[in-house]
Amino acid sequence: MLNLALDGDQQDVVEMTRDLGAAVLSPAAAATERGGAVDPAAWQALCGSGLTVLLSEDLGGDGIPSTVTQMTALEQLAHGDPQATIAAAWSGSAALFVSEHGSAMQRAALRDAAVTGPSHRGAVALYESAGSHEIATTVETDGARVRVRGRKVAVPFAERADTMIVLGRDPSNHELRAVVVPPGQEGMTVRPRAGSLGLDATEQAVVDFDLELPVEHLLAHEGLGLTVARHRLILAAVQTGMAQRALEYAGDYASQRIAFGKPIASFQGISFLIAEAFARTEQARLEILDAASLVDDGAPEDQVTAAVDAAVSYASENAAETTRNAVQVLGGHGFMTEYPVENWYRIAAFLSTVDFDPLASAFQPAF
């Protein structure tokens, strides 16, 4: 039965995360950006929320929320600060992979790792040059050894991740495989971090893998595609929360800024930009909700992947365009670092490159 209402617990999560975003993350966002690292108080608040580090109760966590709950929460948190939110969510996602697919031994190690502590960092090495769509990294099992070869981009906390999950495909059957790579593992080369258009607080870098590990480092295959799908939705949810914030910010500015005798929001050239941003953002939100509910239902992997592909693409295009419109509404102020919109503009565009698929959208000129 079609049902788009959040349940009582989810409503509580929305309120809690919105408050946390406004009270803790938003005020710390400038410091996070300036420092190139997530503000410690923001990091601790995010980890404490139980919505970024996903850890089952038997491992000392708060339990694993549904994908719908998680994405709704991340959207609210990103409304406060997208950068800190995705840094914590990407980091925490490693724990989810182990919680869901780890052997008893792997899970025990995770329990002992204090993953919600202030200094713990996780990393899921998923994305490659072609986003998540043509994974070339191979994970090849040969008896008691598993060999990982490939190149991953946008690996968060690449230089210091305590828990690193690497995704690849088994060349024999093209199935997804995930391996837990220990910190400092030989055969893992982190390229020097050059920095990016935005989001440097995720400390992401390119990593080359050519290494062998005991086969015990493999995660179980069962349902791995669903967890990858869930991981990919983090990006879409953060883009969407940021887009919502940016359009609200632009709306507030446009309501107060006077030109030609009235607030600029009363010109349709401005208000329609905001309306379209609002409409697209709402659509992105629903698209994520749909994909998340398919993940939660354990729908067939093909169906889930198609839904996630569409949601990620649309959410990213929307965030890139919406943050651009926000800069545009602010005009000269939008171009200045004193205002937050230029940072959202950079973050949205950067994120739009991470999981891009040329099949899902096409270039369109201004008119």
């Binding site: 049902n3 209402a5 009363s266 010109f267 349709q268 208000s271 905001i274 609002f278 709402e282 509910s293």
Partner: protein
């Protein structure tokens, strides 16, 4: 029609509603689509429309029959409406006016007294009468404050004078809700709404069916009110003695609210048509696959996938709008987004479908060209996409969005 509080969010329809939609769709393809070309050419319904509708294996909610009530689904009334509109239009939309009691009764629901509800709204909902909606006049469209048709009180009657255009169902309705001004100096606040039975002296239909780009068999009529007298109590919100106290809404607001709820239905209509165009095009292109270079085939396939994704987005925002209305939330932006997005998107989908097929795609041998003509109305009536953007903008910046 309520949802369990702790159920998980999902866009998946109940199996019952899903099945109802599928049956409607199959029937509409089998029975409505073959009559579409003739309905367009002759600008009228087939003479045997009653027999055609009788072939439907599931209830259609026909207003002309009292044994045809649509089933109730746990997904909610308005959500079910969306499924109905999309699937019944998937075959073709020519029959839609026959399946709807009009929108005049929605105005009664918004602005009427309890007694008026019983007389007019309930009769339409029971299928005992067909209502018409008379708002637009030649000199205005979106700006309803410009209503120039006058209503002057004369004892215990109202006397209406003026003309109306684009009145859906005008020439086949049993009664129309006509908007008229009781005091020009008040602008929008002077506008009231009157129920005018179509057999009232002074009421006439100079042009039963206007000559249009599309929806040519849909009777949109030009109406004339020439000293047309109705009882005092036919003014919505009034009774035989004067203003009742059940409703304080102005006429303008009532019409807008009624229209708002119907907007997602109009989006569902064009979603159904665009999906039909897309499916037909995919089938025809598949037959040509061997004639196309891989590169053009892939480009066409990418386009088709993106068009399907766009329709899925249209559906989602539509379902959100239906869900919101079902749950009584005060949210105008969801219907507005739904109607701002789908019509233009569906126009472009159908045009792209014709293009992918080349000039034959736009020939009258196929229905794509008809659907292209039909769809355009959805971005004009019941509030253009420009009007919808204003509604959405107000959600963010308030009334200053002009």
């Amino acid at each position: 029609m309520s949802t369990t509080a702790d159920s998980t969010a999902t866009f998946e329809l109940s199996p019952e509603l899903e099945k109802y939609g599928r049956q409607l769709r199959e029937w509409s393809v089998a029975e409505l689509r073959p009559r579409a070309r003739t309905a367009d050419t002759e600008k009228k319904n087939p003479d045997d429309w009653d027999a055609i509708l009788n072939t439907c294996p599931v209830p259609l909610g026909r207003p002309d029959r009292d044994d045809d009530e649509r089933p109730k689904f746990e997904d909610g009334y308005w959500v079910s409406q969306l499924v109905f509109y999309e699937n019944v239009c998937y075959g073709d939309l020519w029959a839609l006016p026959l399946l709807s009691p009009g929108i005049g009764h929605l105005v009664v629901a918004e602005m009427g007294t309890a007694a008026q509800m019983e007389t007019w709204y309930a009769s339409a909902m029971r299928g005992e009468s067909v209502s018409g909606f008379a708002l637009t006049e030649p000199h205005f469209g979106s700006d309803t404050s410009q209503v120039a048709t006058t209503a002057v009180r004369d004892g215990d009657e109202w006397v209406l004078n003026g003309s109306k255009i684009y009145c859906t169902n005008g020439a086949r309705a049993d009664w129309v809700t006509a908007f008229a001004t009781t005091d020009k100096t008040l602008g929008g606040k002077g506008i009231a709404c009157f129920v005018v039975p179509t057999d009232t002296p002074g009421f006439s239909v100079p042009k039963p069916n206007e000559s249009k780009l599309g929806i040519r068999n849909w009777m949109t009529s030009e109406l004339l009110f020439d000293d047309c007298r109705v009882p005092l109590g036919n003014r919505l919100g009034w009774d035989a003695t004067g203003p009742a106290d059940t409703s304080q809404m102005s006429g303008q607001h009532g019409a807008l609210a009624a229209l708002s709820n119907n907007r997602p239905n109009m989006s569902a209509m064009v979603i159904g048509i665009a999906q039909a165009a897309l499916d037909l095009t995919s089938d025809l292109l598949a037959e040509r696959r061997s004639d196309m270079s891989t590169r053009r085939w892939d480009a066409a396939s990418n386009d088709i996938a993106r068009m399907n994704a766009a329709l899925d987005r249209s559906r989602r925002i539509n379902f959100k709008a239906g869900f919101v209305i079902d749950h009584g939330a005060k949210n105008r932006y969801s219907p507005a987004i739904a109607k701002a997005f789908a019509p233009q998107t569906c126009d472009r989908i159908i045009r792209r479908c014709m293009q992918l097929l080349g000039a034959e795609g736009a020939s009258k041998d196929l229905l794509l060209e008809k659907w292209y003509r039909d769809c355009k109305i959805a971005d004009i009536f019941e509030g253009s996409s420009q009007v919808q953007r204003i509604i959405v903008a107000r959600e963010v910046v308030g009334r200053i969005a002009g």
